[in-house]
């Protein structure tokens, strides 16, 4: 795992992209990894079914935070339906290296949250559980 922490991962960890909050998010979701307590929140500005802007917030390890940060870049401009269908491959491609099963839960936390924000918005659910 020590080879996981390459420069671009540490950069995303220390300088997360799209970090913070939107003033009036159309969609949002939040979740925690009960095994470690890491949390991530995602907020979307949606227009015509397309995510125009995105912010994430939360706390956790370099894997969860860097993965979430990279994910925000991936999904900006995507349609909600596309986001809802993303598989964990998108995370693995972003981090570019194999991860052990426990840490995979960290890496995919942001994805899980983004997907539930997208699905929630599609289904017209209230944007918070």
């Amino acid at each position: 795992m020590d080879d996981f922490y390459r420069d671009f991962i540490l950069d995303h960890y220390r300088n997360p992209r799209n970090f913070g909050h939107l003033d009036h998010p159309e969609a949002s979701a939040e979740d925690l990894n009960p095994l470690c307590g890491d949390t991530i929140r995602m907020e979307f500005e949606v227009d015509g079914g397309v995510v125009r802007d995105v912010r994430f917030s939360g706390k956790g390890c370099a894997i969860s935070q860097a993965s979430a940060s990279m994910l925000t870049e991936t999904i900006k401009g995507m349609r909600l339906e596309e986001i809802a269908k993303l598989s964990k491959d998108v995370v693995l491609e972003n981090v570019g290296i194999g991860i052990s099963p426990t840490r995979l839960k960290c890496a995919t936390l942001g994805l899980r949250v983004a997907k539930s924000a997208a699905i929630g918005e599609i289904a017209g659910w209230p944007d918070e559980e």
């Binding site: 925690l32 009960p34 095994l35 470690c36 307590g37 052990s100 099963p101 426990t102 840490r103």
Partner: protein, 412 residues
């Protein structure tokens, strides 16, 4: 599936069966309904766990903890497949008894109201009776019993009436005292029509019969690992997902939580919501090895083998009936799993068991944790021989000879 193995070859997988008794006798183990013996593969699984990857699960990020977590959760999947359930529907418990109590405390206290009926049968093991007595006492519900006839066959003619007002049907899959197989195919649909929730005590079912919880259409199925080649200290509760989701937690503590604050806690998702504290990791993994062993044999083969043994036993022991051997139960191998309950003349079951023991023959004697049934039948005690995959006709011959010996000792 590969039902080409002989019981003798199977017995060779069980180290205990190769070890002579202190009197130098071959061990003739006829008490598998109490607990089964364990194949070397199960013992090896425990040794490997403790020697190679013992670690606490779910939260460790280091190598052995990851291996322990994965193997433990894979064991759950193995067990779930074995009974055709989803792995989230399989809760690890210590044994069948704890599984039944879990339902009593969690589902029962939430759902059973004064005046409700809990229907069970006259054949039940204390573990599927006393929890319901306590629940009835706490909730003001009433216990009712499906009657059994003199041979231990359940009488179903009044079933619909008995089910009237029943919130719960709690019944064993197979009686441990008589081996009678409950006709779930008749009882479950009637209970469904009556709107009852259905719990099956599978302690004597799953070791001996193919079990498909979906096909059986039960809500809960409780069982113990130690009776199905697994280690002591591990068992499971199968529960239908929707029911488990709606139930409050039972034991509280580490692992079953999602988020804890000083004043308030939210609980984890299934199955962990019902698993508080450090699980019996090694033994859960050991049980999966036991399931693999049974799967390799095929449960149809297991059932056929026991049926053949029982038929042989009934035939082999028949001549002793004129000398005072009383065999209980329906005496029909189609209706009974590998269990034979009996008494011999005026030899008390304990004395019979002690005499058999001198020749290495292990049978159980007593009330078999079914005191009310014994009382009803008027048997102070019975001797019980129970069969499993490693038993052969030679074991039954030994039993027959042991009874002859008891006749000599008691001068009958």
């Amino acid at each position: 599936m590969i039902a080409v193995r002989t019981p003798e070859a199977i017995a060779a997988d069980f180290p205990i069966l190769g070890k002579p008794t202190s009197r130098g006798k071959r061990l003739v183990y006829l008490d598998s309904a109490a607990t089964s013996q364990k194949p070397q593969a199960v013992i090896d699984t425990l040794v490997t766990y403790y020697s190679e990857y013992n670690a606490n699960i779910h939260r460790g990020v280091y190598e052995i903890a990851e291996r322990a977590t994965e193997t433990f959760e894979a064991a759950r999947v193995t067990l779930a497949r074995f009974i055709n359930a989803d792995h989230r529907e399989v809760i690890w418990t210590r044994n069948a008894t704890e599984a039944i109590n879990l339902v009593g405390y969690s589902w029962g206290l939430q759902n059973v109201k004064p005046g409700d009926v809990i229907l069970t049968s006259q054949l039940e093991h204390h573990s599927n009776l006393v929890p319901w007595q306590l629940l009835a006492e706490k909730t003001g519900a009433t216990l009712r019993f499906i009657p059994a006839d003199d041979r231990g066959v359940l009488q179903l003619d009044q079933l619909d009436r008995l089910l009237d007002g029943a919130k719960l049907l709690a019944i064993s899959h197979v009686s441990n005292t008589l081996g009678t197989i409950t006709p779930l195919d008749r009882i479950v649909p009637a209970a469904r029509r009556a709107g009852a929730t259905i719990l099956v005590d599978g302690a004597q079912g799953i070791p001996h019969l193919p079990v498909d919880v979906k096909a059986l259409d039960v809500d809960f199925y409780a069982f113990s690992g130690h009776k199905m080649l697994g280690p002591t200290g591990i068992g499971a509760l199968y529960g239908k997902r929707a029911l488990l989701e709606a139930m409050p937690p039972f034991l509280a503590g580490g692992d079953m939580i999602r988020k804890v604050e000083y004043e308030h806690t939210t609980f984890n998702e299934l199955p962990w919501k019902f698993e508080a504290g450090t699980s019996n990791i090694a033994d859960a993994i050991g049980l999966a090895t036991a399931v693999d062993y049974l799967t390799a044999l095929g449960m149809d083969w297991v059932r056929a083998h026991e049926r053949e043994l029982l038929a042989y036993a009934l035939e082999r022991l028949a001549p002793l009936e004129s000398r005072g051997l009383a065999i209980y139960g329906p005496k029909d191998p189609a209706l009974v799993s590998g269990v034979l309950s009996f008494n011999f003349a005026d030899v008390h079951a304990h004395d019979l068991a002690s005499i058999l023991d001198t020749d290495g023959i292990c049978v159980r004697a007593g009330h078999h944790c079914t005191m009310p049934l014994m009382e009803k039948m008027g048997w102070p005690a019975t001797a019980r021989a129970s069969f499993y995959i490693y038993n052969s006709k030679a074991d039954i011959d030994a039993l027959a000879e042991g009874i002859e010996k008891a006749a000599r000792v008691f001068k009958i």
